[in-house]
Symmetry: C2
Subunit: 187 residues, 2 copies
């Protein structure tokens, strides 16, 4: 795949366009044509810089996920055990805006039918699972598997509940649920 | 709106078609044309029996939600307090198949942009909230608002987590998360 001198900038622009379309209408609406229209570019310019539709999706999603992963690591900040875990989980449910949560839902739904999205989501989930498992192991908690499931359900639930009710919950309201969860896990 | 002798049957067929399309591709893909194609019918036959697109969506979603609500009431079975609550929550996360959970996600996402879906979802949520609040009140629990939020997050989380990982969790795995939640709420 050919690359230009300013290819990083072009890839970023394509990535932003993909994310905007997916947030508004789901990944099914992300076509080379839709991306080109959004950028005021030609479809051939997109495929020249990035490749076909799968490559466009992969590039955009990977870029986005890597940015989130860096934020998550910063939130953990090298802490281990309960402190690191709390940093990670609070980051996941309190920090990202509605746009990120919408993108996440679009990704989870899109992964049902698009192998390229499934692969990127699986890769992220492997990282997340290992990170959570290691942090839980350092807390000395007995049932790591159940604790991990409870945390995953809490994170996914806090993402979905906002949409369910039409607008995201306040940070204070999310925090109360998290606090109940920490007590439940005795962390 | 005109009704035929066999209108209940026709409405049911339209409702099933709407649900199938929404489960597969979201409510954005539900058009009169798509419903007609699925039923091997004409678009004018659909609009004659049900009405325009909003009316088609409303009829299908209301029928589906009413069926779920009847199942939920049966699961509560007239029990009050913790027993009734457990019946309701276990029904929500253990009983419906993947199709119902997919429809629920499609409805939550569709409600962002379609007023008719928002109205039906809000109506269901009002019923759910009141039911959960009353059952919680009968348990004597102190902080009803937080308990209700924890239960809502758990239900939404268990719905979403299955899609997140590519396949729904086993009933045993969901039940372990629910058990942790009951302990947390001391129910």
């Amino acid at each position: 795949m050919p690359r230009q001198v300013d290819s990083a900038e072009r890839l970023a622009a394509v990535g932003d366009a993909v994310v905007s379309i997916a947030v508004a209408a789901g990944f099914g609406a992300v076509t080379i044509r839709a991306v080109a229209e959004r950028l005021g570019s030609s479809t051939s310019a997109i495929t020249y810089v990035v490749g076909g539709r799968d490559e466009v999706l992969r590039t955009a999603v990977r870029r986005e996920i890597e940015a989130r992963r860096a934020q998550a690591e910063a939130a953990i900040g090298g802490a281990s055990g309960a402190a690191g875990l709390r940093g990670l989980i609070e980051w996941a449910v309190l920090t990202p805006g509605e746009r990120t949560h919408r993108l996440w839902l679009a990704l989870v739904l899109g992964a049902r039918t698009e192998a390229v999205l499934r692969a990127e989501l699986d890769e992220f989930n492997r990282w997340w699972d290992e990170r959570v498992r290691n942090l839980l192991a350092a807390t000395g908690i007995r049932d790591i598997a159940t604790a991990r499931d409870v945390l995953d359900v809490t994170v996914d639930g806090l993402v979905l509940t906002g949409f369910d009710e039409g607008s995201p919950w306040s940070a204070a309201r999310r925090r109360r649920v998290l606090d109940a969860m920490w007590s439940a896990l005795e962390l």
